[in-house]
């Protein structure tokens, strides 16, 4: 039993109970709404950043009324016959532009010195959906940097309050000691009275953080991500919950950092333990599998040679010709 949903005119059949966002991800391409707070591997995440708002122009086959407001696609389940508009609705595009502006209001825009630059979701989001200039003319809120544990630094000024790290601590680690303090735009992620976060899986908060609020202290200011080369590797990790499958980020011969493997939506495939992440930084610790494929749209692949196979076209002579030109252009050094 599957349900039919149409997103921007593309129909797909999905399992009942799938969210609109996941249905869109199954279709793929430009119609996938951006998500800053939703994380498919974390239960109950999503619904907070509002960047994935979409318009439901037809509720379902049974009840074809449109939904009165834009809905968060990550937390709205599809109904049979639902019709969703994402990039085809000017209303959604406008609302999303507003959300991006709001998210950037109190964000410091210190990308030049931020370790997350290059793999920052907010950067990508602002590039794709935001305005060139902000209309905000006031001082941004700032916080002191704090070290939560000896390996992780929290720079709250950059935080967009996606709550992902809170969900990680709740669901992946044994014990959560950080959370949200205060209210409104003064709310902050913190451990109460600077208590240190200390457990085997705490490093994963770095991977799930969409911005540079939580950074790896063993990697801070070592290099820009786009100068490093991602390589897939694994090791025989003895932690029961960690399978040791990671991405090593090389600069020359040196492993600068270790992260979990992230998919095209920036979500990790498997969470890794702190030993793998912070303590194993020699090539000899790892079994190298090969280069990690990074989307050619990402700045990380900017200096890497990356071959994208062209679609095979056999019938249309015009397209075959165009394809050849494209092939030459893409493979020219």
């Amino acid at each position: 039993m599957s349900v039919k949903v149409t997103i921007d005119g593309i129909t797909i059949e999905v399992e009942p109970g799938t969210s609109i966002l996941n249905a869109a991800r199954q279709i793929g391409g430009d119609i996938v709404p951006p998500a800053m707070c939703y994380y498919s591997k974390l239960k109950d995440s999503g619904g907070k950043c509002r960047t994935c708002l979409v318009k439901v122009s037809k509720g379902s086959e049974k009840d074809p009324r449109p939904m009165p407001k834009l809905v968060a696609s990550c937390r709205t389940t599809v109904m049979d016959g639902m019709e969703v508009q994402n990039i085809t609705s000017p209303e959604v595009v406008e609302a999303r532009k507003g959300i991006v502006e709001m998210l950037l209001l109190n964000h410091p825009l210190d990308c030049p010195i931020c370790d997350q630059a290059g793999e920052c979701h907010l950067q990508d989001l602002a590039f794709e959906h935001g305005a060139v200039k902000t209309r905000y003319e006031f001082d941004r809120r700032t916080f002191e940097k704090i070290d939560i544990g000896d390996k992780i630094q929290l720079h709250m000024t950059r935080c967009i309050l996606c709550y992902r790290c809170v969900f990680v601590a709740d669901q992946i680690t044994d014990h959560r000691i950080h959370g949200i303090l205060n209210r409104g735009d003064h709310s902050e992620i913190s451990t109460y009275i600077q208590h240190a976060v200390d457990n085997d899986f705490s490093g994963n908060v770095i991977d799930v953080c969409p911005v540079g609020a939580l950074t790896d202290k063993t990697f801070r200011f070592k290099n820009r991500v786009w100068f490093t080369k991602p390589v897939e590797a694994h090791r025989d990790c003895d932690h029961p919950k960690c399978n040791g499958k990671v991405t090593l980020w090389y600069k020359g011969e040196e492993v600068l950092r270790v992260t979990a493997r992230k998919d095209q939506y920036g979500e990790v495939e498997d969470f890794i333990c702190n030993t793998c992440r912070f303590d194993k930084k020699n090539t000899s610790d790892w079994v190298i599998e090969g280069p990690r494929q990074v989307s050619h749209k990402s700045v990380i692949s900017a200096n890497h040679y990356d071959f994208i196979p062209l679609p095979v076209i056999k019938t249309d002579p015009y397209l075959i010709e165009a394809n050849k030109e494209q092939f030459e252009r893409d493979t020219r050094l």
């Binding site: 619904g47 907070k48 709001m102 209309r135 006031f138 949200i180 209210r183 409104g184 735009d185 709310s187």
Partner: protein, 453 residues
């Protein structure tokens, strides 16, 4: 003088005690409901009465009750929302302070109708005296056998608890209230699921305002049809209005819905007119989150009909020229009040009370507050008004809970109706800090559209 349904015995000395309340016919509704009616009958009576939620949204209470899921073996809860924090509204506090047994009686009857064995009254943390009053009233009712096991020998058990909140505006939003009641951070939940399906501790829950629950008492006593005769159209019954601002006699008034606003504002029975012989400039009709209206549009609708105190009439004209009933926090502004300052004040409140969960409200409320602060203190720009309207549009409807809308509406409406004053604050920046814009044309009769033959 219209008949009072809720505040009939409010002036009886000692009405806050069980004995006096009982001698005035109190707890008759509980007796009638538990002994002679089935739970469905009670729901049916409330449906017939057409009672609409008194907390602000005006959703029919009977309908809300009938949506409650009733799976076997799962507890159901009734939660009374006494986290009254809307600026300008103080009717629930009044009710709980002076006639607490009315609320207790309503809670028992409503819990019986919904089949709840445990019910909560969630009171805002600042209202400590009211919490003590309610606890005392509950103890008295329990002594008299109206609460606890086997109430009045009917076999119905009910425990009623008072839970103080932490004093956050956001905890008046029903799902945030439930989170807070569960002992978590008061962040609104993402709906669906609605509380009627999965509310408190994941069980079906109904959350009602204090006044809605109190109104169940006269509905049961007199019957839903009788109750529906009071009022006008779909706005049935009576409503408590907390009149404040520059009126001669501020206070809580019980009115029949459908009373002309002019009568409410100027008759001696109610507000008694504007204090100190001033003239009316603007009115916020239902608590700080509803759109503000200038005097001329408030007294008469855009069709030049007199406006009435009812859900429909107040919202006549939509957001262009109407407002909302809201929670009944009636604030009148006289000619000396500065609308820019007031809007800034409201905006400051919403900035302070935003929970910070979803981005448009968290960031947008602070932005609006800062821009309005600048305008009020004479450093504004002409482009600020358009900016504010645009920001309010970006917030409205894009948030998890209605706080975003509540923050956006007063700003958007103030600029819509009082743009002259905002512009004057920019063009006469230095003067704006020392004196007010005054009444201007805001009380002038509405221009009549020319009839084209």
């Amino acid at each position: 003088m219209a008949r009072k349904l809720l505040l009939e015995h409010i002036n009886v000395p000692g009405i806050n005690t069980f004995d006096v309340y009982r001698s005035k016919g109190g707890y008759a509704a509980v007796e009638k409901a538990l002994k002679t009616m089935s739970p469905d009958d009670v729901v049916e009576e409330v449906k017939k009465s057409g009672l609409r939620g008194r907390g602000g949204a005006g959703f029919p209470t009977g309908m809300k009750w009938s949506f409650l899921a009733k799976p076997e073996g799962v507890a159901r809860y009734l939660v009374c929302n006494a986290d009254e924090s809307e600026p300008g509204t103080f009717k629930d506090r009044y009710l709980m302070t002076y006639i607490p047994h009315l609320l207790i009686e309503g809670m028992i009857a409503a819990s019986f109708a919904l089949g709840a064995k445990i019910s909560y009254i969630y009171v805002r943390g600042e209202m400590m005296p009211q919490i003590r009053i309610l606890e005392k009233a509950i103890a008295e009712a329990k002594n008299a056998g109206f609460l606890g096991k086997n109430i009045l020998g009917t076999g119905y058990d009910l425990e009623l608890y008072v839970q103080p909140g932490g004093g956050a505006y956001i905890c008046g939003e029903e799902t945030a209230l439930l989170e807070s009641l569960e002992g978590k951070r008061g962040n609104p939940r993402i709906k669906p699921p609605f509380p009627a399906i999965a509310g408190l501790y994941g069980c079906p829950t109904v959350v009602n305002n204090v006044e809605s629950i109190a109104a169940v008492v006269p509905i049961i006593n007199e019957g839903g049809d009788e109750y529906a005769k009071v009022g006008i159209g779909r706005s049935t019954g009576t409503k408590l209005i907390s009149a404040g601002g520059n009126v001669k006699k501020p206070g809580v008034y019980e009115i029949d819905l459908g009373l002309p606003v002019e009568e409410f504002l100027y008759s001696d029975e109610y507000c008694g007119g504007i204090a100190n012989g001033k003239r009316l400039k603007a009115v916020v009709a239902g608590g700080s989150s509803v759109p503000i209206l200038p005097a001329n549009l408030f007294l008469k609708t855009i069709k030049n009909e007199p406006r009435l105190m009812s859900y429909e009439s107040l919202s006549d004209g939509g957001f262009v020229s109407g407002t909302m009933m809201g929670s009944g926090g009636f604030i009148a502004f006289d000619e000396d009040q500065c609308i820019v300052r007031n809007t800034w004040n409201f905006s400051r409140f919403y900035h302070h009370e935003s929970c910070g969960q979803c981005s448009p409200c968290r960031e947008g409320t602070g932005w609006m507050e800062k821009v309005l602060h600048r305008l009020e203190h004479g450093h504004g720009k002409m482009s600020d008004m358009d900016l504010l309207v645009d920001v309010s549009k970006k917030i409205e409807g894009n948030t998890i809970c209605p706080l975003g809308d509540a923050a956006a509406w007063p700003v958007a409406s103030a600029i819509r109706h009082f743009r002259d004053e905002f512009e004057w604050h920019v063009s006469h920046g230095a003067e704006a800090v020392t004196r007010n814009f005054g009444l201007a044309h805001y009380a002038d009769p509405l221009p009549q559209p020319e009839t084209v033959a």
